[in-house]
């Protein structure tokens, strides 16, 4: 059966890569934005009358797989977040319409004039176990988050808190200093709880996006006695602070949530139970929706979208609200001032043509993004010319410096070839075009490669690799061209640029560096004036596009199915696996027609 095992691998490698891609929170959010037409479900939301309520208030959804962890400080993938959003609520939360921070656990807050001190006043609130939620629990949670011993993936969102920088850097120290030394550093962290109802944060530098980052799941209040107890994350022991509590967790099989009797929020859950199944296979989840086993599905597999739309029943249940995500392809810019990721090949300009701006412009103008979207994304999404997604401050949705124009592309290519010292594009050694296999990227890569070959006679070496191998090689700058994508963690322009297009950033795999961009980013972080801040982000966004730093192709949408009897949905562009997953408490089951 050795071959049988290999046989199994076919689908597998494929599938796994998809799973990995998705569960890294890359596949992001969906949305309901101001101005855009919303899904019927959301329209039905606030208008649902009590008289329409079904007798049985049980919601069945699918979360695509076992959550790797339900520890709020450590979670990072969408399976976990989909559950955590029901179990916890941070200090501030997002307004589904405007994406602005709104009060949650904090009933109000004040920001000092120098924008460096944030003072929050907490509501009267209790955990699911009846204990009061006090400011000290936030201090504990935040310290735990930046504690190098926790090694939390999202600890960096605390970087601007006073004293956090040293702690975050300490994580890389080997061996770790003595516990006492770390504890001493933690004591200097700029968070304090002068009383149970007041929580104060001191920032070392103004950070206008900090409030938006606090809407993340990582900074929720955590009771020390709970999280340090054995098997804290199992049902029965789990202490939640959100609208629901963990009733059962059959690992790898099902999670059942029930309303948290002590939930402090104004909207009390109508649902009596939420059943979350964990189908790793999208085709099975799709079938489960059709068979009526689950009431909502997000995302609908792109291969099935046309079939769903054509279906008389499902066609009416299908919507595509926007998501805060983008599909783009890296050009290797070959720039790296930090020296950490120097690509030796790029020392010779001839060996690294994508480091040439004219060359990148030529490639960009040779791509028909509309056709790309039609053929490889079932025509879903919005053609993108820049990085920041529409709906966020700093977005410039209509800005496209290099539209599809083959004649212009030829001109830029001619200039580029002259600068690079090639007689024709066909003389350039095949460009290394990297992607991870099995997640449906192959046709997209083939589309782009063909476009460039037809336009310029340019050859590419299409290198498909297993996901882990691909990531390693992409980070190391081994590709000239590489598949990429991003989903917003929190709705703010900073999250789409910092680390991705700033010099030497951790996710700057295109090895792009423009000091002007970095400078504007720093300015924007301390610019209290909203309009001025927005202008700075717009400049950043346009400049990156002007530099043809990457090939921006498509902003995502959340292709989703919702049965008509699910009411009260408040979808956001941050939803990733369950429509309305940020506000489970407002969901209601209506009488079936």
């Amino acid at each position: 059966m050795a071959q049988k095992r290999l046989l199994g691998l076919v689908a597998v490698v494929a599938i796994i890569a998809a799973a990995c891609g998705g569960s890294t929170a890359t596949s992001a959010p969906a949305s309901q934005e101001p101005g855009t037409s919303g899904p019927p479900a959301s329209a039905a939301a606030p208008t649902a009358k009590t008289g329409d309520l079904a007798e049985e208030q049980i919601l069945n959804v699918d979360i695509a797989g076992e959550p790797p962890t339900l520890d709020p400080n450590k979670a990072q993938d969408s399976n976990s977040l989909t559950v955590l959003r029901a179990l916890h609520r941070p200090l501030v939360y997002i307004d589904p319409a405007t994406l602005e921070p709104t009060p949650a656990l904090a009933e109000s807050w004040e920001i000092s004039d120098d924008a460096k001190t944030l003072t929050f006043t907490l509501r009267d609130a209790q955990y699911s176990n009846g204990d009061p939620i006090v400011a000290g629990d936030l201090v504990y949670s935040w310290k735990r988050l930046v504690d190098p011993r926790t090694a939390a993936p999202y600890s960096y969102v605390m970087a601007e808190v006073e004293g956090a920088g040293d702690l975050l850097a300490l994580a890389g120290a080997d061996p770790l200093p003595a516990d006492a030394e770390i504890d001493a550093l933690l004591d200097t962290l700029g968070v304090e709880a002068p009383d149970d109802k007041t929580f104060i944060v001191h920032l070392s530098t103004p950070a206008t996006y900090f409030l938006a980052a606090m809407t993340l799941w990582v900074g929720v209040p955590i009771q020390e006695s709970w999280i340090t107890s054995p098997s804290a994350f199992e049902a029965g022991n789990y202490v939640s602070s959100g609208p629901f509590q963990l009733q059962t967790w059959n690992h790898n099989s099902e999670i059942v949530l029930t309303p948290n009797p002590n939930w402090y929020g104004d909207v009390k859950p109508t649902l009596t139970e939420i059943h979350m199944s964990m189908s790793p296979e999208p085709a099975q989840a799709m079938a489960a929706y059709e068979a009526g086993e689950i009431d909502m599905l997000l995302p609908v597999p792109s291969e099935d979208i046309e079939r769903v739309k054509a279906d008389p029943v499902m066609g009416a249940e299908y919507t595509e609200p926007p998501a805060l995500s983008i599909t783009y392809y890296n050009y290797n810019n070959g720039l790296d001032p930090t020296g950490q990721k120097t690509n030796p090949r790029c020392e010779d300009p001839k060996a690294c043509p994508t480091a040439n701006k004219e060359f990148r412009i030529a490639l960009t103008q040779a791509v028909d993004k509309e056709a790309f979207k039609l053929a490889t994304f079932a025509n879903t999404g919005i053609v993108a010319g820049t990085m920041i997604m529409p709906g966020l401050p700093g977005a410039t949705p209509d800005y496209e410096p290099y539209p599809y124009d083959l004649a212009a592309a030829q001109e830029h290519m001619a200039t580029a070839l002259q600068e690079l010292g090639y007689a024709s594009a066909a003389d350039i050694p095949p460009l290394r075009f990297g992607f991870n296999t099995g997640s449906g990227h192959e046709p997209r890569v083939a589309f782009l490669a063909q476009a460039w070959e037809e336009a310029f006679g340019l050859k590419t070496d299409q290198i498909g690799s297993e996901f882990g191998v691909f990531l390693t090689q992409r980070t190391a700058g081994e590709y000239d061209l590489a598949r990429n994508g991003w989903g917003a963690d929190y709705p703010h322009a900073n999250n789409q640029i910092a680390g991705l297009f700033t010099c030497g950033g951790g996710n700057n795999d295109q090895q792009y560096c423009n000091p002007q961009v970095d400078e504007w980013m720093t300015q924007a972080a301390s610019e209290a004036d909203q309009a001025a801040q927005q202008t700075l982000y717009e400049q950043v966004n346009k400049t990156i596009a002007d530099d043809a730093a990457s090939l921006f192709l498509r902003w995502g949408v959340n292709s989703q199915l919702v049965r008509p009897y699910v009411g009260g949905l408040q979808v956001t562009p941050m939803d990733s696996q369950v429509p309305g997953e940020h506000f489970y408490e407002s969901i209601q089951m209506l009488v079936r027609q």
Binding site: M1, G8, V12, A151, P153, N250, N252, A287, G468, T472
Partner: protein, 305 residues
């Protein structure tokens, strides 16, 4: 015989040792690690996690620590499911996978062997052609396709069975059939072939010529002697089935351990992968002992020194 069996069972230990060393080395030689994400972790966090789990230490030390823990029954922490141990994960899913595997194996044997015998008895007539066609279909239909087809027909269209899960007999039917499809075809083919081999052996012809009634020739001599290749195949097939099929467990959303083997490779969940590999290696080695013992039972002339 007892001595032989004991010796063979003891030999499983060096086999496991060799498999563990090879797997360990390969696993760490593959690029990428358990912390690789599309959204890269900060370097410092990655370094911290490596230090925390000892992944920054020399390989021989890591192996040593793993081996000692393994010997004491500690399979280590999962890197992906950080709040759980590999022991928990395996304990949760093993019996589900085992049950599914045994049911599929039973079905495969109960259908496959009679099909093969039927084909051999009706050699080059319709039963043979029918069996061959079924086998070709069974082998070439990818299990994913078979699984989805079963779901679409029996769950979505007819509504007879749930689309997935593992919550009672009605959820067992489709995955068992889907999992048994391939082995049924394989077993039928081997049974047919070795039955035909046996038909031409001298003693069968002798029995025929002595006027032994057809039916008892078939049952007493042929089937028994035809079993050797079939039994050879059954060992690894059972090992494969009881340690789980990635695709079937995935397609039917079954909370077994079959999914973990390949997921662990893909997510570089080292300790989970080691546990799954050891489990599979043990199943293969152990069942091959069983197969060899069965050889001697089926054909008493086979003696092991």
């Amino acid at each position: 015989m007892i001595r032989y069996i004991t010796r063979r069972l003891l030999w499983i230990i060096p086999v496991l040792f060799a498999v563990s060393v090879i797997t360990f080395l390969l696993m760490h030689a593959v690029p990428g690690g358990p912390w690789a994400r599309e959204k890269a972790l900060p370097d410092a966090v990655e370094a911290r996690l490596n230090a925390k789990y000892g992944l920054d230490q020399p390989l021989y030390e890591q192996y040593g620590r793993w081996a000692i823990a393994f010997a004491t029954g500690d399979l280590g922490p999962s890197y992906r499911y950080q709040d759980r141990t590999v022991n928990d994960i395996v304990a949760d899913g093993f019996w589900v996978t085992f049950q599914l595997g045994v049911m599929a194996f039973g079905l495969a044997v109960l259908v496959g062997i009679p099909l093969g015998i039927l084909a051999a008895l009706g050699h080059n007539r319709w039963p043979d052609y029918l069996t061959t066609s079924i086998s070709i279909l069974g082998v070439t239909t990818p299990s994913f396709v078979l699984g989805i087809l079963l779901i679409v027909v029996f769950s979505v269209q007819l509504g007879w069975f749930p689309t997935g899960g593992w919550e009672g007999p009605e959820t067992w039917v489709l995955p068992t059939i889907a999992l048994a499809g391939f082995p049924i075809a394989v077993i039928a083919r081997y049974t047919r072939a070795s039955m035909l081999e046996v038909t031409r052996k001298d003693y069968i012809r002798t029995a025929h010529s002595k006027g032994v009634r057809n039916q008892s020739v078939v049952s007493r001599h042929m089937i028994r002697n035809a079993l050797i290749p079939v039994v050879t195949i059954l060992g690894p097939t059972l090992a494969f089935l009881v340690t789980g099929s990635f695709i079937i467990e995935r397609v039917f959303n079954i909370p077994g351990i079959g999914q973990f083997y390949l997921n662990a490779i893909s997510t570089r969940d080292y300790s989970l992968l080691m546990a799954m590999t050891m489990l599979y290696a043990f199943a293969v080695a152990f069942l091959n002992v069983v197969v060899d013992v069965l050889y001697a039972y089926i054909d008493p002339r086979i003696r092991y020194s």
